[in-house]
């Protein structure tokens, strides 16, 4: 493939929890090159001290998300050709998360919020009980399926302005997870989940900016999931359940 120019000007955020800055690198352009390829090339050829996180390289594990030209993206599946501007790239650690070093973000709070949103399954049966039949085309199963393919990459969380305005907000990923479990007919923890998602840090914070739905690499729609939680919480409030 013919590229417009041979060298990319790449600004990579270098630093740690005490602060940092963009450092410029020149990276040879290649065909079908991904952002992760660029970061890996810098580490191998220019600066072995560069820290970043990745695992599967095929868009399944959700560990390589970074800010690319100001937008959170899964870097292993983002081609340079798609996002480069004037032959320049800016690569920074994820927004709304504390940085550990360079491009590595601390995702502790992000995952802690999954627990706070009751993102865990509460079953009533044991492994010795027969498997409960679930109709794959039932409305609740379809609603759960629409929300279930999350890979925990944190892109929605990094793109969410409400998280940056209210750090206590559970965020789109955790609430999307809660919505998939609200629609799980086998789950018996619905009241505690309802209390969690309707609390101060819950679904009612959402301003429906839809940044999460815009940038989710798996094309999920957390805004729709959160709207579902808002309806659920409103019905529960009228019924006196919360």
């Amino acid at each position: 493939m013919q590229e417009s120019t041979d060298i990319l000007e790449v600004g990579v955020w270098r630093g740690d929890v005490t602060g940092g800055q963009l450092v410029s690198y020149q990276v040879p352009r290649q065909s079908s090159q991904t952002i992760l390829d660029v970061v890996t090339w810098i580490q191998r050829e220019l600066d072995p001290g560069l820290s970043y996180r990745f695992s599967c390289r095929v868009g399944m594990c959700g560990s390589c998300a970074m800010m690319v030209n100001g937008i959170p993206r899964w870097t292993c599946r983002t081609h340079v050709q798609k996002v480069v501007q004037d032959n320049r790239l800016t690569i920074e650690p994820m927004r709304n998360m504390p940085v550990i070093k360079d491009l590595v973000s601390n995702m502790d709070e992000f995952f802690a919020k999954w627990k706070l949103a009751e993102g865990q399954f509460h079953g009533r049966k044991t492994r010795y009980d027969p498997i409960e039949p679930l109709l794959p085309d039932s409305p609740r199963r379809l609603a759960a399926s629409a929300a279930i393919e999350c890979i925990n990459c944190g892109i929605c969380y990094a793109s969410c302005d409400v998280v940056s305005w209210n750090p206590a907000y559970l965020g789109p990923a955790a609430l999307n997870r809660a919505w998939s479990l609200v629609n799980d007919e086998r789950d018996i923890g619905q009241q505690s989940r309802l209390n969690a998602i309707a609390a101060d840090a819950g679904c009612h914070n959402c301003h429906s900016h839809a940044n999460c739905a815009t940038y989710c690499p798996n094309e999920l729609n957390p805004t729709a999931s959160i709207a579902g939680l808002k309806r659920l919480a409103a019905r529960a409030a009228f019924a006196g359940k919360i």
Binding site: G70, S208, Y215
Partner: protein, 114 residues
């Protein structure tokens, strides 16, 4: 507020428009009610202010005001529908429709005024 790259998408712009129109109306309404209040005791002052509204520039400002009012109304209806009705994937279309209807309403107001 800086429009950072991640905010450059239609539904975030719809949010911004809703917030700006809401703030604009919050600033306007106290003056509006004050003017209405003048009808009770200071009718001459009120008439003077109403004549002031005949100036073309003020008419044009009123066009903006009607637009803000309408876009806040229809944008708000979209948000209420989003939160209380079954989900629709046509949010961008609905937001654009709210802007289009509001513009037409405000334009109709301006055409009548001039």
């Amino acid at each position: 507020m800086i429009i950072k790259p991640h905010r450059g998408q239609p539904l975030w712009i719809a949010f911004l428009l809703h917030r700006i129109s809401g703030l604009g109306l919050a600033i306007f309404l106290p003056f509006h009610f004050y003017l209405l209040g003048l009808a009770l005791e200071q009718t001459e002052t009120m008439d003077g202010l109403l004549r002031w509204s005949d100036y073309p520039l003020v008419k044009f400002a009123e066009f903006g005001l009607v637009f803000l009012l309408a876009v806040h109304l229809f944008g708000g209806l979209r948000l209420l529908a989003l939160e209380f009705l079954p989900w629709s994937n046509r949010q961008k279309t609905l937001a654009a429709s709210a802007v289009a209807i509001s513009f037409l309403l405000a334009l109709g107001f301006l055409m009548r005024a001039v």
